[in-house]
């Protein structure tokens, strides 16, 4: 890429250094123990809020049980150190780990369900933890609490609070940096994809349940870490600290800061703590105030403090660079490269006797077909013939009731969609499954296979903001060949329909697939656009990719397809070269419903 996108990582890294310096200097400059205490609280609460921000802002999962994980961390460390005499560090690590483990368990619900159920399950989890803390008095001491918890002061009464602040500050800074990496890397794209469009996520190779559960576990680990610090800051805990109010406070901080924004959690937590201090004397109406804040922020300032800052900043700043459009000229013309396809020719995709029914209604009945390497195989049939169902069975979004699907000789019938995608199976959708909160470029990047590990990617990010230059170059190559490089930084919703279709096709090309499933690629496009797509499909085919094409536009199908399979009522009624199929009387009947002379029908019967 040209130098124009090489931006320095120093503003960002400089901010980290400044933050580190501030954390170091604060307790030395501010001798006041109370202020140091507040700063400690701010930093460890921010850790929990960062976790929630990732969970809610990126993966779109709502947790109403963060106080539960906070409590598990807090009690585990308190009990291990006070009752079993563990060293503080061991207790803290164990406490945070236990909270993460509890997150994995509750995350099992997240694994299987979405949205509302998770909100409900976490609300119930938080409720149960609260009850357990109150009533399991033998263990937790209930409202009397746990006594004898050691404070984390490194044996120095004088400097203890300062040391504690430095430790919390270091952990916070590490979490902040990790969060910033997540927010600017492929992890953000993956999480936004699975939040917004699960089908798109799965068919581009994202293991949706794994990512969902991992995010959940990470956010509970963050909450547990905060709870652990809380315990050893105060050297005493009781059950009053872990109510739903705590969860709501963290949610308020997340929302006030600005959801999904990097520095949002710190700013949001700061504002929330300040409000808490201000209304400490108004204890009787604290719920009222918190409720009004929630309503006020969500209804009046939905983008939170960060949103306000950006709005103000935009007033003073020139328009942002338009991103990669500036480096179009640098992209090289080259052919699309398929993923390392098997050297031997022969079928790359084989469908054997696949059946699928929905509660007694048969959608696909024992359909078999195979797609040879570097050919276009069209699947046609009237509406309701079962074409899309078959495509969904092949891509793995549906599990076929019976039959086998082989990809390059390997049986993939029982593999999930993301595993099939990673084996070189890409697809497009009839009704477009683009991720609308990602730019066209970022949608393409979802399709690209990264050549770096997460750790390598993180190191590259630390060194340069242009750490994805190579990937973006590849994406831009593809966009340029589709004539839409200038739209790289546009959002799909702002594009006309034809360009959105192209963008989805571009994402499939970015996957460098050995097999591509195209579900009605020219539906809703005009003739000229259809011709463009036809040319494109030929180039993809010539690069060695096998294509299974579903389409209603017969001119389009007949000029492109090497072979055609016709489905009607879920069954294969014909297969052959386009010219043969066109003449097949049963195909004509299926499409036009023309009554046939008995003789013609008999002739067709014997012919097949």
């Amino acid at each position: 890429m040209s130098a124009s996108t090489q931006t320095s990582p120093w503003p960002r890294n400089g901010a980290y250094l400044a933050m580190a310096a501030a954390i170091f200097a604060f307790p030395l400059l501010v001798g006041n123990a109370f202020h140091i205490h507040i700063a400690q609280t701010l930093l460890y609460t921010t850790i929990a809020v960062i976790g929630l921000n990732m969970l809610l802002g990126l993966s779109g999962q709502m947790s109403l049980g963060q106080a539960g994980f906070y409590a598990i961390g807090a009690y585990a460390s308190a009990l291990l150190t006070a009752k079993l005499g563990w060293p503080i560090a061991a207790g803290m690590l164990a406490g945070a780990a236990l909270a993460g483990l509890a997150g994995c368990l509750v995350g099992l619900v997240a694994l299987r369900t979405r949205g509302l159920y998770l909100a409900m399950a976490t609300l119930a989890f938080g409720f149960m933890t609260e009850i357990a803390a109150q009533r399991w008095i033998d263990l937790t001491g209930g409202t009397m609490g746990v006594y004898g918890v050691p404070a984390l002061d490194f044996g120095s009464a004088k400097m203890g609070k300062t040391y504690f602040l430095w430790v919390v500050g270091s952990v916070y800074l590490a979490v902040q940096i990790a969060s910033d990496y997540v927010m600017s890397s492929r992890i953000r794209r993956k999480l936004l994809a699975l939040k917004e469009n699960e089908s798109a996520a799965r068919t581009t190779g994202i293991n949706v349940p794994l990512w969902r559960t991992t995010t959940f576990a990470v956010s509970s680990l963050a909450a547990g870490t905060a709870g652990v610090f809380f315990t050893h800051q105060n050297a005493y805990i009781n059950s009053d600290a872990f109510t739903l109010s705590l969860t709501l406070t963290m949610l308020i901080a997340t929302v006030i800061g600005g959801l999904g924004a990097s520095w949002g959690p710190l700013i949001g937590t700061l504002i929330t703590l300040m409000i808490a201090e201000l209304i400490a004397s108004l204890y009787d109406v604290s719920f009222l105030v918190n409720g009004l804040i929630l309503l006020g922020v969500l209804l009046l300032f939905p983008q939170g403090a960060i949103g306000l800052v950006y709005k103000l900043a935009a007033l003073f700043r020139a328009p942002q660079r338009t991103g990669s459009a500036a480096v179009v000229e640098a992209a090289a013309q080259r052919a699309f490269t398929p993923v390392a396809a098997p050297a031997a020719s022969g079928p790359t995709l084989v469908i054997e006797n696949v059946s699928k029914s929905y509660g007694g209604v048969v959608a696909v009945m024992k359909v078999s077909l195979s797609v040879d390497r570097g050919t276009v195989h069209a699947l046609i049939g009237p509406n309701g013939a079962g074409k899309s169902t078959l495509i969904n069975c092949v891509s793995g979004l549906y599990r076929a009731d019976s039959g086998r699907i082989r990809l390059a000789g390997k049986d993939v019938s029982t593999l999930p969609a993301h595993a099939r995608a990673r084996m070189g199976l890409a697809r497009t959708f009839q009704n477009l499954q683009l991720v609308n909160s990602l730019t066209v470029m970022e949608n393409l990047q979802l399709g690209l296979r990264s050549r770096r590990s997460i750790v390598g990617d993180f190191c590259a990010w630390l060194l340069s903001d242009a750490f994805e230059a190579e990937e973006r170059g590849r994406a831009l190559d593809i966009l340029q060949q589709l004539g839409m490089a200038h739209l790289a930084s546009a959002f799909p919703e702002d594009l006309p329909y034809g360009h959105r279709k192209l963008a989805e096709l571009a994402r499939a090309i970015a996957e460098e697939p050995s097999v591509m499933l195209l579900d009605e690629p020219v539906a809703g496009l005009n003739d000229r656009e259809a011709q463009d797509i036809a040319g494109l499909i030929r180039r993809i085919r010539d690069a060695g990719t096998s294509i299974l094409l579903v389409e209603h536009n017969m001119d389009f199908v007949m000029q492109l397809a090497d072979r055609v399979t016709v489905l009607d009522h879920g069954e294969r009624i014909a297969e052959g070269a386009p010219s043969e199929v066109q003449k097949d009387p049963r195909v004509v009947e299926a499409y036009l419903g023309a009554p046939l002379e008995p003789a013609t029908l008999a002739a067709a019967e014997t012919a097949s």
């Binding site: 619900v109 299987r112 909100a119 989890f125 409720f127 009850i131 959801l259 409720g291």
Partner: protein, 299 residues
Amino acid sequence: MSSANVVQLLLSGLAMGAIYALTATGLFIAHLATTRMNFGQGEFLMFAAYLSMALLLAGVPVLLVAAAVIAALAIMGWALERFAIRPLDRLRSLGGGQYSWVLTTMGVALIVQNVVTLLWGKSSQYSPPLFSSNRQNVVQFLGVGVFVEELLVIVVALAVILSFYAFLYRTRQGRAIYAVAFSPETASLLGIDVRRTVALVFVMASVLAAISGVLVGPIVTVQPHMGLVFTVKAFAVASLGGFANPLGVLVGAIVFGVVESFANYLNSAFGDLYPLLLVMALLVIKPSGLFGEAKADVR
């Protein structure tokens, strides 16, 4: 456990189950039409219980109390939709994202809870009986002495639920709710006032919380923190039913109430948590609930 005990526990369970069914049906109907619901449903119920208690103690006749509480909660339900949920449509994809409504309805719940503590204090209170002269009045049922209040709570709650089903399936307005649930755009093309229907389901949800609140007063202690308990349990019950089918909600609620009643008897410290744990485990095994079905957009 004697057989008399079994009958008493069963009836207590049925009574609480009937209350859960009413509360959860409110969640179900709102979710059906809008995929949203009131996370403060329990707080609304709690407010209704307090209001009912205050009016009963002031000597207002029972039927009038019920009418007044229903009217008050209907207004609250309307205001909730109008001021805390509907404005979010305009702010789609901002703020709390697709779950902003969870936070705004919880915000309203906090306010309601605070208002209750300001008006009636923080301590637990006993609400006067609705149907007899004394909370502890007992009648013979299947040869066992059971509380009159519990018996009548079951009868009234079931009657309300049955008339709700009749409304949902037999009236034009009920079918309009199903049409909006299927697709708001299509419904509005068919001449259904979608906004009115959405407002109506929140009013209905709130009215169901009102009836639950009036009925629950005499069989539990009334306290400001009870809201969360009912919200959590109503959710559990509605998810058992898969949020798909009102009959599933009813069955789920009855099973939940009865299991809870026996669990409480067997383990007075943590018995009320067992049914919740069971529901969570069930959600892991069968995520769409007992009666729901999973759906995905894969066109």
